[in-house]
Symmetry: C2
Subunit: 200 residues, 2 copies
DNA sequence: GTCTATAAGATGATAGAC
DNA sequence: GTCTATCATCTTATAGAC
């Protein structure tokens, strides 16, 4: 099956994913989804029992994709600093393509808390991945590693989340914003490494 | 008029604000609002012409409140570092009370871009406030001040936005999260100051 | 200003023909 | 698997009595 020639269920998922990200769950109707997917309205309920179940399916796959990606990036044979650069670079690339993704995930997770939970396996991520052990060893005295990992994610992801406000506040256009994110691709790892304990 | 004894329009605004933040615009109905406010359904449309206009009113007041607060915090007679500490501390306090506020604002701004715009006056904020001039002078060569201000906001606000995911990933409960944010109250200004050009 | 009643339309979901 | 037609419900909004 070619990438552009999805089956009906695939078309529905793709259309729904796009619309949920764009307009949120509450403002996306099953009719929107059917039209966007180019399929009959009844088929949405035929393949996915309800709008809620369709959302749940998409959400689970999206979050699992994130985690899988992080797992792959952080487990290969690279230096600590290379891994940092990879995480930053990887998420900037992802969010350049789908800037609405974080807001979609974060705002809708709140409305469907059931969809989250341990089945996604994030709870074990921190213990399994060597990166976090390396990070813990490099943390200054009294600073929990979670602080530094949160800083890394914050500095990378937040600009995309706050883009509407930032653009309004600075008069920055889309092109300037993207250039700024390109600068951050190298700046963030530098700031991050400087927060760590100096290596002997 | 006492604080708890609002007039009808006030009750509606307060109930609507709470519900919009809690459930988002799309999932909040005018019936919800009327019930929560303890007023008749028809009065929502009597005082605010439509659900959209009610939202617009609340949104404008909320964002204006933010900006007003920032303006006051940053213009007083304090050292640069004190201002940094104040911004961080102030937003942590605010978000401890209303953790859903950023997601509400950011996700709904996207759905109602008209409500934003220059009328809020954020576009001039950066030029008016002395803090940003001080920041510009302390920026290392080749680093635009917007990068550093974004880092400050990111490290402060993002943890609240990502809390559901962070909690799921680390098994952190609410109490532990709040303790972590208390640590960040002093850590963030330190990290931030270390990103600046050394002062002679 | 506040209520009741209801209009006018949209929405999620399904039954049943093909 | 896919379609048409339709149901039951909920939604925003308003007209009109008090």
């Amino acid at each position: 099956m070619s990438e552009k020639d999805l089956d009906t269920a695939g078309k529905i998922k793709e259309a729904a994913s796009q619309l949920f990200i764009e307009k949120g769950f509450g403002r996306t109707t099953t009719r929107d989804i059917a039209t966007e997917a180019g399929v009959n309205l009844a088929l949405v309920n035929y393949y996915f029992r309800s709008k809620d179940e369709l959302f749940s399916t998409i959400m689970t796959e999206t979050v699992q994709g994130f985690i899988w990606q992080l797992r792959v990036l952080l487990n290969d044979d690279k230096t600590f600093e290379e891994k940092v650069e990879l995480v930053v670079s990887n998420y900037i690339d992802l969010l350049k393509t789908r800037p609405d993704l974080p807001i979609f995930m974060l705002s809708e997770i709140r409305n469907h808390p059931e969809e989250m939970a341990a089945k996604l396996g994030i709870d074990k991520l921190m213990h399994e991945i060597k990166f976090f052990q390396e990070l813990a060893q490099r943390c200054p005295e009294g600073v929990h590693p979670i602080h530094l990992f949160m800083n890394l994610l914050s500095m990378t992801v937040f600009p995309f989340i706050g883009k509407p406000v930032i653009s309004a506040a600075t008069g920055m256009n889309d092109e300037a914003f993207m250039m700024m994110m390109e600068q951050r691709r190298t700046l963030i790892p530098q700031w991050f490494m400087s927060m760590l304990k100096p290596q002997e």
